[in-house]
């Protein structure tokens, strides 16, 4: 923490708040992953950390390095855009795979496919 002493207080407070908030949201999502009962409930929980949690930490990082180097350091936007694009894709793929496996085994948790509906 050698460089952090140069950071003014008006920038240090939002950086600290955003960082702790993002980490707390990630912890909330992971506890949800641990506590919820079925897979289809669990698949919702980690998205809390994957969208808002990592967004808060990236905002804190952007603010920290921008104020520290007195120029705009915005390369964290790359991770933001990448997470926003890929999180729904991966979780939708995973939910479809789980639905396919459950239906194939005749698991009563999931509804049977509709007549004439699209093949899952």
């Amino acid at each position: 923490m050698t460089e952090a002493a140069e950071l003014p207080l008006w920038a240090a407070v939002p950086v600290a708040v955003l960082m702790v908030l993002g980490a707390g949201l990630a912890l909330t999502g992971s506890i949800g992953l641990l506590r919820l009962r079925t897979f289809y409930e669990r698949v919702h929980a980690p998205t809390l950390g994957a969208t808002l949690g990592i967004g808060c930490v990236l905002l804190a990082s952007m603010l920290f390095f921008s104020v520290l180097q007195s120029r705009f350091v915005l390369h964290e936007i790359l991770i933001t855009v990448f997470m926003v694009v890929t999180t729904p894709v991966t979780l939708m793929l995973l939910a479809r795979a789980a639905l396919y496996r459950d239906r194939r085994e005749g698991n009563p948790v999931v509804p049977s496919p509709m007549e004439g509906g699209p093949d899952p």
């Binding site: 952090a4 600290a16 950390g49 930490v57 990082s61």
Partner: protein
């Protein structure tokens, strides 16, 4: 003053993220079915990327950013490949 505030908040954020990674790791080891394990692995990737970003704030260097970007990229590719494997039984058809 600001250095003290930042060092404490970095420590708290690191502890919270470590607890989050512990929860995801437990679900990956315990998880009743394969899709639970893949979901926990994806969560673990996201938490590791956040932990690396917090490390970057702690040390004041931007080198950790590249590692975080690589981890998010690898997380997307591995989760997509594992979901394809669970669906079809093979990755490249």
């Amino acid at each position: 003053m600001s250095a003290e505030l930042l060092s404490w908040s970095v420590l708290i954020a690191q502890l919270l993220l470590a607890a989050a990674m512990g929860c995801a790791g437990w679900r990956m080891l315990a998880g009743p079915r394969a899709q639970d394990r893949v979901l926990a692995l994806d969560t673990l990737y996201v938490n590791a990327a956040m932990l690396l970003l917090v490390f970057g704030i702690r040390t004041g260097t931007t080198h950790y950013f590249e590692a975080a970007l690589l981890i998010t990229l690898l997380g997307f590719v591995s989760t997509a490949a594992l979901a394809k494997f669970l669906m079809r039984g093979e990755v490249i058809e």
